[in-house]
C-alpha cells in the first residue's frame, strides 16, 4: 500500500477524536479503543478509495457508527458499573471509568439519534453536510436535531446555551 505512511499519519492524528466520539456515543473507554481500532482496520482496506473520495471524514465516522452498531458489546446506557470496574482496578483505570461514566450520565437525557448529531457536529466538528452524510439525513434535520439536542444539554446544564447564533 503506497500510502500506508499517509494512512498511519492520518490514524495517529485522528485516533483521539475517534475514541472520544465512541465514548460520547456510549462506549466505555476500553470499548471505545477497541472500536476505534476496528474502524481504522476496516478503513485501511479501503483507504486508497477513501482518500480519493471528497468526504473522508464522513466515511470514517460512518464506519465508526456501523462498527458500533455491529458491536455486541454495545449496551447503551445500561447500568452495570459493578461489572465494569475490575476488583483490582488501578486508581488510574477507575478514573477512566469515571470519566466515561460522567459523559454517559450527562448525555443520557438525549436520544441516540440526537446524541449522534451532537457528537458528530458539535464535538467531532464535522460540517453540517458531513454529519448529514454520516447519518443519512437531510442537512435540515441535522440542524433541527442539533438545536434541540443543544437546548436540552444546556437546559441540563451540561453545555453553555449555544443554541442561538454561532453553532449552526
Amino acid at each position: 500500500m503506497d500510502d500506508e505512511a499517509e494512512y498511519a499519519e492520518w490514524a495517529r492524528d485522528n485516533w483521539g477524536t475517534l475514541v472520544r466520539a465512541a465514548v460520547f456515543l456510549g462506549c466505555t473507554l476500553p470499548e471505545a479503543e477497541d472500536l476505534a481500532q476496528t474502524t481504522l482496520v476496516r478503513c485501511y482496506t479501503a483507504w486508497e478509495k477513501v482518500s480519493n473520495a471528497d468526504n473522508r471524514e464522513a466515511y470514517v465516522y460512518r464506519m465508526l457508527r456501523n462498527c458500533l452498531r455491529d458491536s455486541k458489546r454495545r449496551r447503551w446506557w445500561a447500568e452495570r458499573p459493578t461489572e465494569r470496574i475490575p476488583d483490582s482496578a488501578s486508581p488510574d483505570r477507575t478514573a477512566h471509568v469515571d470519566t466515561a461514566d460522567a459523559v454517559h450520565r450527562a448525555m443520557e437525557g438525549l436520544s441516540r439519534i440526537n446524541r449522534e448529531v451532537v457528537v458528530l457536529r458539535y464535538f467531532v466538528q464535522l460540517t453540517e453536510q458531513q454529519t448529514a452524510d454520516v447519518l443519512d439525513i437531510p442537512t435540515g434535520t441535522v440542524k433541527s436535531r442539533l438545536s434541540r439536542a443543544l437546548a436540552q444539554l444546556a437546559a441540563d446544564n451540561h453545555l453553555a446555551d449555544l443554541t442561538e447564533g454561532s453553532t449552526s
Partner: protein, 681 residues
C-alpha cells in the same frame, strides 16, 4: 467551559496503536470478509462518498456490480426473507440461537426475567394491559380517490368493508366477531359458530356448530371460507376486541371452515401456533398474521435462604444457555400433529439495534389453506403492526411520556434500549401471502398504535407522541424509503403542546389530528406535498374526539367525550365538523349524550357504521362499567343538524359484541349477545 466539553478534552485516549492497525489491515486486505455486509448507504449517499468503492470493496462484491440499494424497488433478493441493513440475515440456526442466548443473558437475573417485560401482545387497537389513555381511534384510509388530480387536501367518505366491518384501510379487511357476504352472515361467540341467511324478510339461523377447543375468537371471511382466529382455550377467556394473552403459554389457533353449504359448515384444517396473535389482515383471499411470542417460560430458580442471589442468577444463566431454538421460535402444528418450527432460521432476521427481546413472526396463508404458510420473523420486539394495501409496517415504539407507564414498562420503553425515545419501523412489501423486508427507519417520538401510521404513495406518515427524545408536543412526520432506509422527508411539529393525541385520520393529501388536554384542538395538516407537510388550520372546542369518521368531502364526525348538561359532568358527545375550508374547520352541530355515557367507537371503531345513502350513522353508546347498558345511537344528518334516537340493545359484557352490519341491499343487521336481527332504521 461546560462540563461536557471538559470531559471531551480530559478523556485519556492514549496513543494510536498504529502498528497493530496496519498489521491487521494488511491481513484483512488479503482475505475476503467472511460475511458480506450490505451497504447501509442510501443511493444518494453512495454518490457522495464514492459508490463504486463501497459496492466493490466493503461490500465484497465484484467491482462494477450494482449496489443492492439501487436495485428497482430496493428489493434485493427473490427470497421473501431477503434481510439486510437493520434486519440482519442469519447464516445458521446456531448463530440465531447465540443471538437469543446473548440477549437473554442480559435480562436474566436471580428471579428469572428481570426486564419488566410481560408477554401481553398489543392487539390492534393498542389495548394495553394497564390503564392507558384511550387508544387512538380510527383513521381508515377512506376511499383513496381514483381521480389522481394532484390530490388536493380533503376528506373523503368511508364505509364498511365488503364483509361489513369498519376497517382502517379500504381493501384491507380486519377480523371481527361477525362477517357477511350479503347472503349469509356468520358470527362467532366463544366456540360457537353460527350462520344466518340474511336475504329474507327475517334473519334465519341456518346452522350452529362448536369449534372444538377454541376460544376468544374472531373471524375473517373469504368467499365460502371462514377463518376463525382465536386460541386453544388453555388461557383465561377473553371476549371481544381487546382479547390478549394474559396467562399461560401463548397460543394462537386458526381454524378454517367451509360454508359453501351454510346449513352444514365443514371444519377444515386447524393450525396451532404457540405465539400470541398481534393482528390479522386480509387482502383478497390472502391472510396475514402478525404474532409476538414473548419471552419463553423457562425453569428458573428463585433465590432462597440458602441459595443466594448470585447462585440463583448463575443457575438462571445456565438455564438460558441450555435453551434451544424451540424455546425461542414458535412452532406450528396442523390438526394436532407433530410441531414444526414456524419459520426456518434463514427466514428469521436479527435486528441490528437492540429493540428488546422477543420473536415477531409474519405468517401468510390462503384462507382455505391455513397449513400452507409463508412465515418470516425477526428476533426482536416490534409489536405495533399496520398494514396498507401494499405494505406491512412493524414498529418498535416507546410509550409516549404522557402515557402513564406504571410499575411495569415494556422493554421498548426502557432507557437501556437503543431506541430510548425513538421509534424503529420495519417496512415489508406485501404481495399475496408473502411479505418481503425492504427497509427500516428510526424516528424520535412514539407511535401509540396502528392508527398513528399510514402509507400513501410509498410514503409512510406517522403521528408521533412525545418521548424523552422530543419536545412536549406531537408531530406528523413523513418518511420515504431510499435504498433500504426510511428517511424523514418532512415534518410538522408542535401539534398540541403538552397534549396527547386522541385520534388521527389520514387521507391521500390530508391528516386530521385531534389532541387533548382540556380542550380539543383539531388540526388539519396538508400532505399534498409529502416532503413539506403544513399545518392548514385548527379548531379548539370543549371535549375531545376519540374517533373521527369522514362522511364525505365536507363533513367529518367526531365521537368522543365532552361536557354534558349543566353540572360539569361529562358524557359521550358527537360533533359534526365542516371541513370544506380546511384552513378554518368549524363545528356546526354537537350532540350531547347523558352524563356518564361512553362513545364506544373510540375504543372499538367496529362499533360505528356510516350509511351514506341514508345519511345516518349507527354507533354504540354505553353507560356504566358494571351493570352496563349499551344503546345503538341512530344519528341522522339533515341540513347540518343532528337528530338522535337511542335504541337499547344489550347489557353487561355483551355490549362489546354489539355490531351494526350493513348489507348490500341497504338493510342493517343488528348483532347483540343474544340476537341477530334486522335493525329498523
Amino acid at each position: 467551559m461546560s462540563d461536557l466539553e471538559r470531559l471531551w478534552d480530559d478523556l485519556p485516549v492514549g496513543r494510536a496503536p498504529v502498528d497493530d492497525i496496519l498489521r491487521a489491515g494488511r491481513k484483512k486486505g488479503r482475505t475476503p470478509r467472511r460475511r458480506p455486509v450490505r451497504p447501509l448507504f442510501t443511493a444518494g449517499v453512495l454518490t457522495a462518498v464514492g459508490g463504486a468503492f463501497l459496492a466493490g470493496i466493503i461490500v465484497a462484491q465484484p467491482p462494477g456490480s450494482a449496489p443492492e440499494a439501487s436495485r428497482p424497488g430496493g428489493v434485493s433478493d427473490a427470497s421473501p426473507a431477503a434481510f439486510h441493513g437493520e434486519l440482519q440475515p442469519v447464516e445458521s440456526c446456531d448463530e440465531l440461537l447465540d443471538h437469543y442466548v446473548d440477549q437473554a443473558l442480559e435480562i436474566v437475573g436471580p428471579h428469572g426475567w428481570e426486564s419488566g417485560y410481560y408477554r401481553t401482545a398489543l392487539r390492534d387497537g393498542g389495548f394495553l394491559a394497564f390503564d392507558t389513555p384511550m387508544p387512538l381511534a380510527a383513521n381508515q384510509d377512506a376511499t383513496r380517490s381514483t381521480s389522481e388530480a394532484a390530490a388536493a387536501p380533503s376528506t373523503s367518505t368511508s364505509v364498511n368493508s365488503d364483509t361489513g366491518t369498519n376497517v382502517q384501510e379500504q381493501g384491507v379487511d380486519e377480523p371481527d366477531v361477525v362477517k357477511t357476504d350479503g347472503d349469509v352472515l356468520v358470527r362467532i361467540q366463544d366456540a360457537t359458530l353460527t350462520t344466518y341467511a340474511v336475504t329474507g324478510k327475517e334473519t334465519e339461523e341456518l346452522s350452529k356448530i362448536q369449534l372444538e377447543g377454541f376460544e376468544g375468537g374472531e373471524l375473517l371471511l373469504s368467499g365460502d371460507t371462514v377463518v376463525a382466529l382465536g386460541n386453544d382455550g388453555t388461557r383465561s377467556p377473553h371476549r371481544g376486541y381487546g382479547w390478549y394473552a394474559d396467562t399461560g403459554p401463548a397460543t394462537t389457533r386458526v381454524v378454517s371452515v367451509d360454508i359453501s353449504d351454510p346449513g352444514a359448515p365443514q371444519v377444515g384444517d386447524t393450525v396451532d401456533l404457540d405465539t400470541s396473535l398481534v393482528t390479522a389482515r386480509q387482502h383478497g383471499s390472502s391472510i396475514r398474521l402478525v404474532t409476538a411470542a414473548g419471552l419463553p417460560e423457562l425453569d428458573f430458580v428463585q433465590p432462597t435462604g440458602r441459595r443466594g442471589m448470585r447462585t440463583a442468577r448463575e443457575a438462571n444463566e445456565r438455564v438460558v444457555r441450555a435453551t434451544t431454538l424451540a424455546d425461542w421460535i414458535p412452532s406450528m402444528s396442523v390438526d394436532g400433529g407433530e410441531p414444526t418450527q414456524l419459520a426456518d432460521c434463514q427466514d428469521m432476521a436479527i435486528p441490528r439495534q437492540d429493540i428488546g427481546l422477543d420473536t415477531m413472526n409474519v405468517v401468510g396463508f390462503e384462507a382455505d389453506a391455513p397449513a400452507d404458510v409463508h412465515a418470516i420473523g425477526l428476533a426482536g420486539n416490534a409489536s405495533l403492526a399496520y398494514e396498507s394495501p401494499d405494505h406491512l409496517y412493524l414498529a418498535a415504539s416507546p410509550f409516549a411520556t404522557w402515557g402513564e407507564c406504571f410499575d411495569v414498562c415494556p422493554l421498548t420503553g426502557s432507557p437501556a434500549m437503543d431506541n430510548a425515545g425513538t421509534t424503529m419501523v420495519f417496512d415489508f412489501e406485501v404481495t399475496g401471502t408473502e411479505a418481503t423486508y425492504v427497509g427500516s427507519g428510526e424516528v424520535e417520538g412514539s407511535v401509540a398504535d396502528r392508527w398513528a401510521m399510514d402509507e400513501y404513495d410509498g410514503v409512510l406518515r406517522l403521528a408521533l407522541g412525545p418521548t424523552q427524545a422530543t419536545g412536549n408536543f406531537n408531530s406528523v412526520v413523513t418518511l420515504e424509503r431510499r435504498g433500504d432506509e426510511l428517511v424523514e422527508v418532512g415534518r410538522v411539529d408542535k401539534l398540541g403542546v403538552n397534549e396527547q393525541i386522541e385520534s388521527v385520520r389520514w387521507f391521500d393529501a390530508l391528516a386530521i389530528m385531534v389532541t387533548f388536554r382540556q380542550i380539543d384542538p383539531l388540526y388539519a395538516i396538508d400532505l399534498s406535498d409529502q416532503d413539506d407537510p403544513r399545518l392548514m388550520g385548527q379548531l379548539k372546542i370543549p371535549g375531545f374526539s376519540e374517533y373521527l369518521h369522514p362522511l364525505g368531502e365536507r363533513r367529518l364526525i367526531g365521537m368522543g367525550q365532552g361536557p354534558s348538561g349543566d353540572g360539569g359532568a361529562w358524557g359521550a358527545q358527537a360533533g359534526l365538523f365542516d371541513v370544506t375550508d380546511l384552513t378554518s374547520p368549524r363545528r356546526i352541530a354537537v350532540l350531547g349524550y347523558a352524563p356518564g355515557t361512553q362513545a364506544r367507537a373510540g375504543a372499538d371503531p367496529r362499533q360505528f357504521t356510516w350509511l351514506p345513502k341514508e345519511r345516518t350513522l349507527l354507533t354504540v353508546i354505553s353507560k356504566g362499567w358494571s351493570g352496563r347498558t349499551g344503546w345503538v345511537s341512530v344519528v341522522s344528518l339533515d341540513h347540518g343538524r343532528l337528530t338522535n334516537r337511542m335504541v337499547e340493545a344489550d347489557y353487561g359484557n355483551d355490549v362489546e359484541q354489539i355490531r351494526t352490519v350493513p348489507l348490500p341491499d341497504g338493510r342493517v343487521v343488528l348483532v347483540t349477545g343474544e340476537d341477530v336481527e334486522f335493525f329498523d332504521l
